[in-house]
Symmetry: C2
Subunit: 154 residues, 2 copies
């Protein structure tokens, strides 16, 4: 969750392991393995995916490390309605996500108008606004291309 921010995007800590150290956590081999894997692959992922890809790291540790990264604000936890949440690296402080309904690819976007509208909703809504979340579901360009391709001879 996120409070309504000023309109200048703050760039977040680049190295995930550093984000953990900044929180007073020790730099261990397990944590290095997890954070490196996340940084190298780049894509959004689920906890179980990470466990499969890092059999040398215990499942509990993978889950714990992910939780720490989310707490540190270095990872976004995206609710997926039917299934396990996905995680993606946070690059700017407040943003929203695009999710491709077909392949699950996750993108980050930030748009001042959206935030302006949020502020304007304060009047319309009962109670105090403490945060908001928004996801835009898309068919990504890659999937569009694949569809166009397949459509002709599938």
């Amino acid at each position: 969750m996120c409070t309504i921010p000023a309109d200048t995007a703050q760039i977040i800590e680049t190295s995930l392991i550093t984000a953990l150290e900044d929180r007073g956590l020790r730099k261990t081999t397990a944590r290095a393995a997890v954070t490196q894997r996340i940084e190298l692959a780049g894509d959004a992922f689920t906890a179980e995916q990470l466990c499969r890809e890092l059999p040398e790291v215990g499942r509990a540790t993978v889950y714990r490390t992910i939780r720490h990264l989310v707490d540190a604000g270095a990872l976004c936890k995206l609710p997926i309605l039917d299934g396990a949440p996905m995680y993606s690296v946070a690059r700017v402080e407040h943003h929203h996500h695009t999710i491709c309904s077909r392949c699950g690819a996750v993108g980050e976007f930030r748009h001042s108008t959206v935030e302006r509208v949020m502020r304007s909703l304060e009047k319309e809504i009962d109670g105090d606004i403490v945060g908001h979340r928004m996801e835009i579901f898309i068919t990504c360009n890659q999937c569009l291309a694949a569809i166009a391709e397949g459509e002709s001879h599938d």
Copy 2:
């Protein structure tokens, strides 16, 4: 998920059991019990809550009925990041939700500006937009009152 709608709210089927019959499903005692309970209580709920409150209906049936209602568009399924999804009765066709972070109360809102911004984002975003979702997290008036109350002597 929802496609970007015209700006006139369509009011949805009032009776949940009718929504099921409209889909060619039989009117059974189990389904009547589930839909009545949902309508009478009014609040958002989780599947497990319903199961507990309706011990005379089998757990599988509760889950199945909820799924039918969601498919029919009569219920919204709200992703809750740490925990089971919540369900709330849909009253107008396209809308978004307010969720009280403290008590979990769910509200529905609809605001033309939000939808207008969504349309304007089509240019900014790679790929085809197929839908969107938005939740505003609040502290509801009831909770604000409770906090003010408690603050003085807790």
